[in-house]
């Protein structure tokens, strides 16, 4: 069974969702929690069975799908994807467990379970087309969640979300077809296997074009400045559960895809585009932080801060060395935990007051002490306080990029610190001072359902902030092999110099040797 654990992880929620049509409406929540819990337990088992010392792919599965065109059902995990898969199952569980939505709950839970299938599928796929299938398919449940349960502008927001991402992905698809065609030219065989593509060494000008094609798909998903305009709408209109999943998992698909596709496939192009992308990332950090400061809606603050932190992830990824990339992968997890938790917290107050305007609140700390405490911890984690989960990722990402450029890193570092202002300001507006609005005087503190969702997130945020090794080590091992692969494949002198050579270190095997 452990040999097929990835297939099981992908299709178990889908199967459960189908059976869910039969379950009665009032029992649906319990059913959803049960399924999500089993799925989460399965993903923990995957972690348990995973060998952290091996840097290559594990639990690989392969079956021909469209052999005539080189498309295979190819799955596998390494340290990079393992934890994002666990994050997906974890957040689906937490999301369903703390669900306060009551309208058409059956449809919602079935949709969430389908969404879980697509999320796990994206991170486990090693065939570009299988990856693309899950990547695109994930849009459909999210479209429905935003469009059916969202706010007043939900239809505009959901359609914008869908079309924006869909367009980017189609350009990426053309890029994938080109990769497959180059592979065909080189070997006489069609193949969409990412691992096979890793072996191709492309001329630099092809790399630049293909990098650009993939970049459209990924950058819109992340979303990188200037393609970020769909995200505030999507977050603003989405129900709490939609924002949580969107921020915690769906955005990570883009950054994950950079590490999985862009870096190892196009090392020269990655070096070529390193500084332009770093500048975009810094613009993202500063600009969205400023926009966040100007928001009056707490959910928009969280949404923009989430974009801002995605900038740090991009910066770390394009440091192109082990520290930066490992840091950015770790920060993906951290960002998922923290921004997911913040959206849950916003949902808590929204359920009570049906408003998200910060001017409506004030002095909540005295009315809702437990809520204020949890919000405070998560807010501190978000601004990157040492000993919280974000700090580890941000520090490593910046450290990585420091090796490439001191000036840019300094700018980014200052921006992050300054960026803390808007979070602190928002916190002050909502929680400190005296209660001015009478509607807030008798608000109930967080209840048990909500605590079930929030407490584990607080624990993770602090635990991984204090002791990140169990997660960081497997990530590090896999990232080392990616970097080594990049170094080996790089052709231009600049790329050779920028991407460190790790072959001197013990125990490093390249991706190809691992198979």
């Amino acid at each position: 069974m452990i040999d097929h654990i990835l297939t099981l992880l992908i299709f178990f929620p889908a199967l459960a969702a189908m059976l869910g049509f039969v379950v009665a409406n009032n029992s649906m929540r319990a059913y959803g929690i049960a399924v999500a819990f089993i799925e989460f337990a399965l993903s923990l088992w995957l972690w348990y069975a995973y060998d952290p010392m091996v840097s290559g792919m594990q639990f690989m599965e392969s079956a021909p799908l469209i052999a005539a065109f080189g498309i295979n059902y190819l799955l596998g995990v390494d340290g990079i994807s393992l934890f994002i898969i666990i994050l997906s199952t974890f957040f689906t569980l937490i999301g369903i467990a703390s669900l306060t939505e009551t309208r058409r709950i059956k449809n919602l839970i079935i949709t969430l379970l389908f969404l879980e299938m697509t999320m796990v599928g994206v991170f486990a796929a090693l065939d570009a087309i299988v990856f693309y299938v899950f990547w695109e398919l994930s849009l459909v449940p999210m479209l429905y969640i935003i469009g059916a349960w969202g706010g007043p502008l939900r239809i505009y927001a959901s359609v914008k979300f869908f079309l924006y991402t869909f367009t980017g992905s189609l350009i990426m698809l053309v890029g994938m077809l080109f990769m497959a065609y180059f592979y065909y030219q080189a070997t006489g065989q069609w193949s969409f296997s990412i691992l096979e593509w890793y072996r191709l060494i492309l001329p630099e000008n092809f790399q630049l074009w293909l990098f650009a094609a993939f970049f459209f798909g990924f950058a819109i998903k992340v979303p990188m400045f200037p393609f970020h305009t769909w995200l505030p709408y999507a977050h603003g209109q989405a129900p709490t559960i939609g924002s949580v999943i969107l921020a915690a998992i769906l955005l990570k698909m883009g950054t994950y895809a950079f590490v999985r596709f862009s870096l190892p496939l196009f090392p020269d192009a990655s070096v070529f585009f390193m500084f332009p992308i770093a500048i975009i990332a810094i613009i993202m950090i500063i600009y969205t932080a400023m926009v966040a400061y100007a928001q009056e809606d707490i959910k928009q603050v969280v949404a923009y801060s989430s974009v801002s932190h995605m900038g740090v992830i991009i910066l770390g990824t394009f440091a192109l060395n082990v520290e930066g990339v490992s840091g950015s992968v770790f920060l993906m997890l951290a960002h998922g935990v923290v921004s997911g938790a913040l959206f849950l917290l916003v949902g808590v107050i929204y359920d009570r007051r049906h408003t998200k305007l910060m001017s409506e609140f004030g002095g909540l700390a005295s009315v809702m002490p437990r809520y204020a405490t949890i919000f405070g911890i998560m807010m501190m984690a978000s601004v990157g306080l040492p000993l919280t989960i974000n700090f580890v990722g941000e520090f490593l990402s910046l450290l990585g990029f420091y090796k490439q450029s001191h000036m840019l890193t300094l700018t980014a570092g200052v921006a992050i610190i300054v960026g803390a202002i808007y979070m602190l300001a928002a916190y002050k507006k909502m929680f400190f001072g005296t209660v001015t609005n009478d509607a807030n005087r008798h608000l109930k503190d967080v209840n048990r359902t909500e605590l079930i969702g929030l407490i584990p997130l607080v624990i993770v945020a602090i635990w991984l902030g204090v002791y990140p090794k169990p997660v960081l080590e497997p990530i590090n091992n896999s990232v080392e092999s990616v970097i080594q692969l990049m170094h080996d494949k790089a052709q231009s002198a600049e790329a050779k110099a920028r991407i460190p050579d790790l072959s001197g270190k013990n125990g490093i095997t390249t991706m190809q040797e691992a198979h």
């Binding site: 469009g147 059916a148 239809i155 959901s158 869909f166 350009i171 053309v174």
Partner: protein, 501 residues
């Protein structure tokens, strides 16, 4: 005195006519039955049509086996040409027809199905299309085209609504114009080559090193106009939405699939040798035609308020997308054409059938057309299964994986990429994104809006078991297409490659 020519019966290879003859015999049988005893129920005629189509399909599969063993079969003074693409396209034609004809078994009574002639004409039409694809003789193509078209005009008019008459007359007029263009085009080709067979024309022109290039181009101008009408390429598309709107949804779905594949095959035979011999003018015209057809019809589809008209424009766009295969002209592209069309048949027929099941007899006071978007709003609440099905077909048409059409699009764009048409590949991809909007619009209405009062009793009002079965088959074909693509690709590649395309 002329010597009598002795033709042995064996050399005629009458068997090549078998598939068409089966359809014709079926049509005659129905007329005879009607003569013997009138007033029989439509279910009888539907089942007889199905039986004959099944025989037809059997004969074609048999030919497929012969083709793989012995190669192309010629017959009837070498007029009949049973090569791979002829067999493939006939299989698509007959299978598409088999999915269509059970749609006559609605639970409500419709005028046209009371006439047995409807079913007889239907089989004659199929025979016409089969003749059209199974030959490279320009005259026989013309005969097949006209047989099929005349039967089709009548089928549309039989729907017995003023819009249907308008549609039929419009289609007839445009069709006559196209036939005229076709006749002129073939006339010029005959004048410069002395032959009416496409492969001989190709040989003669090549030996001649295209010294008559001016005349060739003139004839191609006529031919492009003729096929532009038949395949509804922009700017010859203006009849399409009106005709689709006027005919019953079922027939509109049929028209978006079967006549077009016949047109594609003839266009493939006629244009590809010219494209391959490097006639730049034709390449440029085709390139522009393909891009404009895809893009313009997509943009028109965005502003439609009626779902049927939207689907009409969308099928123009799909036809333009597939036309790219004829421009690209590689074996991979031609394979892609057939793969795309086989997958498209299922999805599009499913979508039109979903419209057919809620066809109303009378419009509501505020209703402007048969299938406005509002009719479907909030369908997820009143008719969840129907909404999911319709949503599925829309997603497939938009090219969302893993549903049917995605694989067709993937392969078509892939073939553009490997033939070096990078810009075309990007345009094809971006057009899928534009198209996403209007398919999504229907999904938005169905899943995210509140139901409108007054429409709910129409959903599935026409549905009978056989209609639901067809929807089910279309849905299964759409969802599980991924498992069918590999065998389909292998067979199609084999057939297309061995026919020299």
């Amino acid at each position: 005195m002329l010597e009598p020519i002795h033709v042995s019966l064996a050399s005629l290879n009458i068997a090549t006519l078998a598939p068409m003859l089966i359809a014709i015999v079926g049509a005659l049988t129905m007329l005879v039955i009607d003569m013997a005893k009138g007033g029989l129920h439509k279910s009888l005629y539907v089942m007889i049509s199905l039986l004959f189509l099944l025989l037809d399909l059997g004969a074609l599969v048999d030919f497929g086996g012969v083709f793989l063993k012995n190669g192309t079969v010629l017959g009837f003074f070498d007029v009949m040409l049973m090569d791979g693409i002829a067999i493939l396209s006939q299989i698509i034609i007959v299978a598409g027809s088999m999915l269509f004809i059970p749609l006559a078994l609605t639970s409500k009574r419709f005028h046209e199905y009371d006439y047995p002639e409807y079913f007889a004409l239907f089989l004659f039409m199929i025979a016409g299309f089969q003749f059209m694809v199974a030959t490279d003789n320009l005259i026989l193509i013309f005969v097949g085209l006209e047989t099929a078209s005349l039967a089709l005009y009548t089928l549309i008019a039989l729907h017995n609504r003023s819009k249907s008459f308008e549609a039929a007359v419009k289609y007839f007029t445009m069709g006559a114009l196209a036939a005229g263009f076709y006749a002129f085009g073939s006339m010029i080709l005959y004048a410069i080559s002395g032959s009416v067979e496409i492969n001989q024309i190709a040989t003669i022109l090549a030996e001649d090193h295209y010294s008559n290039i001016g005349y060739v181009l003139l004839s191609m101008a006529f031919m492009i106009a003729a096929f532009g009408f038949k395949l509804s390429m922009v700017p010859f598309h203006t009849w399409t939405p009106d005709v689709y709107e006027g005919s019953s949804a079922a027939l509109a779905g049929y028209m978006s699939i079967v006549p077009k594949i016949a047109g594609f095959v003839v266009a493939m035979r006629l244009f590809e040798f010219l494209v391959h011999s490097g006639i730049v003018w034709l390449q440029v015209i085709l390139y522009i035609g393909v891009v404009v057809t895809m893009t313009a019809s997509n943009i028109w589809a965005l502003v439609q308020t009626d779902v049927k008209r939207m689907l009409a424009y969308s099928s123009i766009s799909h036809a333009g997308f597939v036309m790219a295969a004829i421009l690209i002209g590689t074996t991979q592209a031609n394979t892609g054409l057939f793969l795309y069309w086989a997958l498209f048949s299922f999805t599009n027929l499913g979508a039109f059938t979903m419209l057919w099941v809620n066809r109303q007899k009378n419009l509501l006071p505020e209703q402007s057309s048969d299938h406005p978007y509002e009719k479907f709003s909030g369908m997820i609440k009143t008719m969840p299964m129907g909404a999911v099905m319709m949503g599925l077909f829309m997603l497939s048409l938009a090219g969302v994986p893993p549903f049917g059409l995605f694989w067709g699009k993937l392969y078509m764009i892939g073939s553009a990429v490997s033939a070096g048409y990078t810009v075309l590949a990007l345009i094809m991809a971006l057009n899928s994104a534009i198209a996403g909007y209007y398919y999504l619009k229907l999904i938005v209405f169905m899943f995210m809006k509140e139901p409108m009062v007054g429409y709910e009793k129409f959903y599935f009002m026409n549905a009978s078991l056989s209609l639901k079965t067809i929807i089910g088959i279309a849905a299964v074909g759409t969802i599980f297409a991924v498992f069918a693509v590999n065998p389909l690709l292998k067979v199609i590649t084999l057939f297309v490659y061995n026919s020299g395309y």
